[in-house]
């Protein structure tokens, strides 16, 4: 069975600072994909960043980057220069060969002005 674990229910960071959200996963598949989704209070689910497991290079999207450690089955999200608009729930998700997403419990990110 595939599982995704987010051990931080809540994180806070000062505006303009950097924060890292943790995610670990378990899967027996060799080909899989990892994602971070953002869910603001509107509850819309927004794709932030993705990582293909076969790629060694860590994905980057503007202020968002990941640290993908395949052997450790770890997939953390780093947000640089945090902005007030980054405040949201962040979900880590895993997709295997059937493409269905398996989700973590989420981390609530609070940005302090």
């Amino acid at each position: 069975a595939q599982t995704v674990t987010q051990s931080q229910p809540e994180m806070s960071v000062q505006e303009a600072e950097t924060v890292t959200l943790s995610c670990t996963y378990d899967t027996s598949e060799s080909d899989y994909y990892l994602f971070w989704y953002k869910q603001p209070p509107s509850r819309q689910m927004i794709l932030v960043i993705r990582q293909e497991a076969y790629k060694q290079q860590n994905a980057t999207e503007n202020r968002f980057s990941v640290n993908f450690q395949k052997a450790a089955k770890s997939f953390s999200l780093k947000i640089s220069d945090s902005q007030l608009g980054d405040a949201a729930m962040y979900f880590c998700a895993l997709a295997g060969s059937n493409y269905q997403l398996i989700w973590g419990a989420g981390t609530k990110l609070i940005i302090k002005p």
């Binding site: 819309q44 689910m45 794709l47 059937n98 493409y99 269905q100 997403l101």
Partner: protein, 113 residues
């Protein structure tokens, strides 16, 4: 990035009633997904739909649930006899250019009283 709309945005229904939730992708897609998120809980996969057929479904997707694409564009989720525990956000997702990337609609908040 594919665009997806969902209607209604909020549905209130009485226990035992049937509800139909609609998903309207803006452009043509092959893969469709339904997920639900009970308040305060993890996002859960319900069903995936490919080429007008169910390709995967979870244990949650029992006989009271059904999906169809009646007119080639709308993608619907029907709950035949709603229960209190069906109260949740229901998200439709479609895949983008890369079939493993899923983009979500804004969700339908279902409240069963």
């Amino acid at each position: 990035e594919p665009e997806v709309t969902q209607t209604p945005s909020h549905q209130v229904t009485q226990m035992g009633q049937e509800v139909i939730l609609r998903c309207v992708p803006i452009s043509n897609h092959l893969y469709f997904y339904w997920y639900r998120q009970i308040l305060g809980q993890k996002v859960e996969f319900l069903v995936s739909f490919y080429n007008n057929e169910i390709s995967e479904k979870s244990e949650i997707f029992d006989d009271q649930f059904s999906v169809e694409r009646p007119d080639g564009s709308n993608f619907t989720l029907k709950i035949r006899s709603t229960k209190l525990e069906d109260s949740a956000m229901y998200f439709c997702a479609v895949t983008g250019q890369d079939s493993y990337e899923q983009y979500f609609g804004p969700g339908t908040r279902l409240t069963v009283t």
